[in-house]
């Protein structure tokens, strides 16, 4: 049982990976890669009030999503969206737990409504005007592959509407960081459609064996250190743009096998 799509656009923000187009040579192994700390761009698309309210997780997700929509030449508001993240709003979650452990338990109302797992989806709608369906899902370290499958079944159910997958994670502050270490911030986005003429094809299926590691040690450290970076094998294959097959971490010792046909 396989699910297919055309990759029309890609977005990327990660350690040493400042945008998809700026990172292609590095990902393909034709330029040296060094995992310098992630720089999250400012979201120009958000109205000024919302820009002040949006935390770094939202800014990260929006940056990757907008890059992918732009590359696809698709209007952002036309896309169904799938937001995939292991823990979502890490900093808001920490701040709320901290406040609740204090004497007065005072939580900022903005902090609270920004703490929902679908905060990035909410801000995406406000920024782009998109009223199309938005999913917000999580599957711990398998969140990227779960998001990819969700995007592919959404596309299968409605081939006429292109789907935008945005996978993202930011580190928790301490002390949660100690219980759930996430190495740095990382986001990637894919505009997926059923229009075969508009880009390379991917075919995905679930397989009953664990995902493979990457041969490049620096990239492997990023892949293993951030749930959303479990996407790196696919990003590398797309950067090399050659027929190939990669395995992505899925739940419970399973993997999602993706075949790429440029």
């Amino acid at each position: 049982m396989t699910l297919g799509a055309t990759v029309e656009g890609i977005g990327l923000v990660g350690p040493g990976l400042a945008g998809w187009s700026a990172s292609r040579e590095r990902l393909a192994g034709r330029e040296a890669f060094a995992a310098v700390p992630t720089v999250i761009p400012l979201p120009e698309a958000l109205p000024a009030t919302e820009r002040r309210r949006a935390g770094k997780t939202v800014r990260l997700a929006l940056a990757a999503g907008l890059e992918a929509a732009h590359m696809a030449g698709r209007e952002a508001r036309s896309l169904a969206t799938i937001f995939a993240s292991s823990g979502g709003e890490s900093e808001n979650c920490h701040a709320i737990c901290e406040a609740l452990a204090g004497a007065d338990r005072l939580i900022s109302p903005t902090r609270f409504h920004n703490s929902v797992h679908n905060a990035a989806a909410g801000y995406w709608g406000i920024a782009t005007g998109a009223m199309a369906p938005a999913d917000a899902i999580g599957a711990f370290d398998a969140s990227f592959a779960a998001g990819l499958l969700e995007a592919l079944v959404r596309l299968a159910a409605n081939p006429a509407q292109a789907a935008l997958l945005i996978a993202y994670d930011t580190p928790y502050p301490e002390p949660l960081h100690g219980a759930r270490p996430i190495a740095d911030s990382f986001a990637t986005a894919f505009v997926l459609s059923s229009d075969a003429a508009r880009g390379p094809r991917i075919e995905a299926r679930i397989e009953e064996r664990p995902a493979a590691r990457m041969d490049d040690a620096s990239l492997e450290r990023v892949r293993a250190g951030i749930p959303a970076a479990r996407s790196l094998p696919l990003l590398r294959a797309l950067a090399r743009n050659a027929a190939s097959s990669v395995s992505l971490e899925y739940v419970d010792g399973q993997a999602v096998r993706v075949e790429l046909r440029p």
Binding site: R53, L100, P133, A136, A139, F140, A156, I206
Partner: protein, 397 residues
């Protein structure tokens, strides 16, 4: 979409464990809400608590998953023959052909809240017994249910605040339609925690009384906890007495993080999409279970959307005066309310609501009454403006 069979369901709410107590409360119009005495919470509000979760145990092999949220899941799994129904379907179809898609907004975050209080030296590391992955993380619930029921199919936690568990149905339906699975456990679980109690309090959205949806004097929500688990199955033949998921519709408000679009524009899109997906006209719906949280702006916005889609005649009610607003579990609980309404020939009422706001136009039902119900629509809307409507029917068309 092609209709999907509802083969089994179970729930645990403040009314009790299993579908029985909910069914009886729907028939009698009684509420399970009580003054808040949860944990160390000092807020003046009412809540819906599942009885006996403090004593609830998980199977020994899954003890690492122990937290209030997974206890709530276990409280439901043990009722209504649900476990047997899932195992039968998994035996027939194969464990890898049964997916698990569950909604939750806060999962086991209560464990993190308590761990922060127990930090070494007050601001050091979290205690070593805090298991983030198996309690706090949103996927903990899905992981637990999957392991508990021996399932190996595709899985994800859906977390779009108060529409989470409604969206689980929509997601599972797409996996079935794509041929990836033959059956799925859907619905969701949310349990009491300080984050939501103090968080909704910070937004001044908690009522100091049991909530009164649609009432002229409504003044906020009552938070509840619940588990609602539903087994959906691909089925190509008619089945006597069965209920079906006929359609699902989703949309976004693209308006504000915690206030609904004032004209209910997103809500309207979701309901219209659900009717389209089911292939039925608005006039074919016999009962609408409203999101109906009981805040002044939520009910007013939803009412405008209802009038635009259905006019003023379709019987509507919110059942949150019975169960409380069970947040990420609400879509699942209220799907079960719709299934019971169809099976029992009943239009549910709205305990707590006395006098319907004269500014609202929908045909709002205050007390339960007997009536044939063949098709229902259930609304669930969440923070971030994420909306989902589901259509259920007694026949597969």
């Amino acid at each position: 979409m092609r209709p999907i069979l509802v083969s089994s369901f179970t729930t645990a709410t403040c009314l009790g464990r299993g579908a029985g107590p909910l069914r009886r409360a729907l028939a009698s119009g009684t509420s399970g809400l009580e003054p808040c005495r949860f944990e160390t919470c000092d807020l003046d509000t009412w809540i819906g608590m599942i009885p006996g979760l403090e004593e609830q145990r998980l199977p020994a092999r899954l003890a690492a998953f122990d937290c209030r949220n997974n206890r709530a899941a276990e409280a439901a799994i043990a009722e209504d023959g649900f476990e047997d129904a899932v195992r039968r379907v998994a035996g027939r179809r194969g464990a890898s052909r049964v997916g698990v898609f569950l909604g939750t907004s806060t999962s086991g975050i209560l464990e993190a809240e308590l761990a922060y209080r127990r930090r070494e030296g007050g601001d050091g590391a979290l205690p070593a017994d805090f298991d983030y992955r198996r309690t706090h993380n949103a996927f903990s619930l899905v992981d637990y249910v999957r392991a508990r029921l021996g399932l190996r199919g595709p899985a994800a936690a859906l977390s779009t605040a108060c529409s989470s568990s409604a969206k689980a149905f929509a997601s599972a339906a797409r996996y079935v339609e794509a041929g990836m699975i033959d059956a799925a456990v859907v619905g969701g679980v949310d349990s009491l925690c300080l984050t939501t109690l103090y968080g909704f309090n910070s937004l001044q959205l908690l009522s100091p009384r049991p909530c009164r949806p649609y009432d002229a004097r409504r003044d906020g929500i009552s938070i509840g906890e619940a588990a609602a688990l539903i087994l959906l199955e691909r089925c190509d033949e008619p089945r006597d007495g069965a209920s079906w998921l006929l359609g699902a519709g989703e949309s976004c408000d693209a308006y504000h993080m915690s206030s609904p679009h004032p004209e209910g524009a997103g809500a309207r899109l979701a309901m219209e999409a659900a009717l389209r997906s089911a292939g039925v006209a608005a006039s074919a719906i016999d009962y609408v279970n409203l999101h109906g949280t009981g805040t002044p702006s939520n009910d007013a916005a939803e009412d405008k959307a209802i009038e635009a889609v259905f006019g003023r005649d379709v019987p509507c009610s919110s059942t949150k005066g019975m169960t409380g607003h069970t947040l990420g579990a609400a879509g699942g609980v209220e799907a079960i309310v719709c299934l019971i309404a169809m099976a029992d020939g009943l239009v549910p009422g709205s305990p707590g609501t006395r006098e319907v706001d004269s500014g609202l136009r929908a045909h709002y039902e205050l007390t339960p009454r007997a009536r044939r119900v063949d098709r229902t629509l259930s609304n669930s809307f969440g923070f971030g403006g994420t909306n989902c409507s589901l259509v259920f029917g007694r026949a597969a068309a």
